[in-house]
């Protein structure tokens, strides 16, 4: 089975456009400087409708992870071991992703991660995956 396609909204279109170009673009509040994920009409920190799309550093670390020793759903019951992760960008926001080429026994909370722009799962949509950085 194919994995469920992200149901993209008009509001988050700049995020997906950024991924297609190899960038992690997110909204930042111009009133309180807070970065937010996922895209919304207003800042979740101060409520201001003053969010501006900006390019993040793409620098990230591992907040937590799971190893799907049993498939999480039939759509994900492929050959590769699924490692769902929560990633924390240095900008202070967290987002859901998966880890590529991960050795489950060597994963450590806080380890540095690098983005992997996955253009193969969907022909017209880039997914944001991560891998353990070479430099820790």
């Amino acid at each position: 089975m194919t994995i469920p396609r992200p149901l993209v909204t008009a509001l988050s279109e700049p995020f997906w456009r950024g991924l297609a170009a190899g960038r992690i673009d997110l909204q930042q509040c111009s009133a309180c400087d807070r970065w937010i994920f996922y895209p919304r009409p207003r800042c979740t920190g101060c409520g201001a409708a003053a969010l501006v799309w900006r390019t993040t550093s793409s620098r990230a670390s591992l907040y937590s992870f799971a190893v799907a020793d049993r498939p999480v759903a039939i759509e994900f019951a492929g050959d590769a071991l699924l490692v769902p992760v929560i990633v924390e960008l240095d900008e202070g926001v967290r987002l859901p992703s998966t880890l590529e080429e991960a050795d489950p026994d060597r994963l450590r909370i806080g380890m540095r991660l690098s983005p992997r722009f996955d253009r193969s799962t969907f022909p017209d949509l880039t997914l944001l995956r991560f891998a353990v950085s070479e430099q820790q």
Partner: protein
């Protein structure tokens, strides 16, 4: 301490015995609610016409107007009609809402009812990804589900992994908790695992589902359902059972997806429990029994710490040292909890409420905890996202 009169009390209860899918009768949610209402009314010795409040979760037969549909089906007329959409926290959330409505004089007798019967939702429906929604515009449909952040096992494992990193993880301590709860289930003929005691090795050797979580640390879905009636002091005064007061409550709902929680090791129950204890004017040490939502062992551990029964990071030692059997020094999930009783969909949350009421009313039979006057109950909806704490006290 006993609960002072505060305008409302739990006066009746009902719970279906847990059944495996294979020998479960086919029953709609409306049919199950009808049966549970009748059982609870009989238990409270009240006529149907006394019911003027209703709190339900959604029902499978109707995507909207659940309270009106149920009222019509039962033949009651409601002054207070409420849908509580908090998943595993719905039951505890219903209890304090009902108590507030009764105390305020809005209604006199409120039925809080959650069916947990089969069939489950069809696999192609939007609910097939567990607590995550795959409907257009849902943040989970755009950002969580495509990355396999679905279901419950892997997402609870993330909490366990983060706990392991900061405080260490002791699989044997978790296994011990499961064993003790199973002992409690073996004193409860209605539990799915009645007559099936296990040892720590059984838990430690059960299949790995999402490391470090093993099969026996995870609830088993069963057929069931449960209900209670919250009524006025006037009605409680004629109750055939010891009435049970809602002495304190607290609720926190701040996020849906695990990546949006403020701190995985400080879940919403921390503030919810603190508010519940403050309202009741008691401390965790005053509790005679705890009925803690236990979809996973890690969920119990985080609530034990969050509610203040032990300090953060000391949960594993607590699990190693205390005795959680109904006659132990920390009676916990005395009917087996969901790990021992089974999880009947959202009614799994109600089993904790019903068991607390039984213990406080001295109705727990062979698993009665001696001298039980104060019970602590929690509900947990989604992935540690909607959390409710109750302090219940025998009147």
């Amino acid at each position: 301490m006993t609960g002072p009169a505060n305008g409302a009390a739990i006066v009746g209860l009902a719970e279906f015995p847990a059944r495996r899918r294979a020998d479960a009768p086919v029953m709609s949610d409306l049919e199950a609610i009808s049966a549970l209402a009748a059982l609870a009314l009989e238990d409270a010795q009240l006529p149907l016409s006394d019911l003027d409040g209703l709190l339900v979760t959604g029902i499978r037969e109707s995507a909207q107007f659940a309270p009106a549909t149920v009222a019509e089906y039962l033949g009651i007329s409601l002054r207070f009609a409420e849908t509580v959409d908090l998943g595993g926290a719905a039951a505890a959330g219903m209890i304090w809402r009902a108590a507030q409505a009764v105390s305020a004089g809005i209604c006199r007798a409120a039925l809080c009812v959650i069916p947990g019967t089969f069939p489950a939702p069809a696999p192609n429906q939007a609910g097939r990804f567990g607590a995550s929604s795959y409907l257009p515009g849902s943040p989970q449909a755009e950002f969580d589900i495509p990355y396999g952040h679905v279901g419950q096992n892997a997402l609870y494992a993330m909490f366990a992994q983060r706990y392991r990193h900061f405080h260490g993880y002791d699989p044997r301590a978790m296994a011990r908790l499961v064993v003790h709860q199973r002992r409690n289930a073996c004193a409860n003929p209605d539990a799915i695992f009645f007559g099936k005691p296990i040892e720590e090795e059984d838990v430690l050797n059960s299949p790995m589902i999402a490391r470090p979580l093993r099969l026996l640390e995870i609830v088993m879905p069963v057929w069931g359902g449960a209900a209670v009636i919250v009524a006025s002091d006037e009605i409680a005064a004629t109750s055939p059972h010891r009435p049970v007061r809602v002495a304190g409550f607290g609720e926190r709902v701040s996020h849906k997806s695990p990546h949006q929680i403020a701190d995985m090791l400080s879940p919403p129950i921390k503030v919810a429990a603190a508010e519940a204890f403050a309202r009741a004017g008691i401390a965790p040490a005053d509790v005679d029994c705890a009925q803690i939502y236990d979809c996973y062992t890690i969920a119990v551990l985080l609530v034990l710490e969050g509610a203040g029964f032990c300090r953060p990071g000391a949960g594993m030692a607590f699990l190693r040292e205390r005795d959680f059997r109904f006659d132990g020094d920390f009676p916990l999930n005395t009917n087996g909890g969901q790990l021992g009783f089974g999880q009947a969909r959202a009614a799994g949350g109600m089993t904790h409420v019903v068991e607390a009421v039984r213990q406080l009313a001295g109705r727990a039979q062979e698993r009665q905890t001696p001298g039980c006057d104060i019970a602590f109950v929690t509900g947990n909806g989604g992935i540690m996202s909607a959390q409710v704490a109750l302090v219940l006290a025998g009147a």
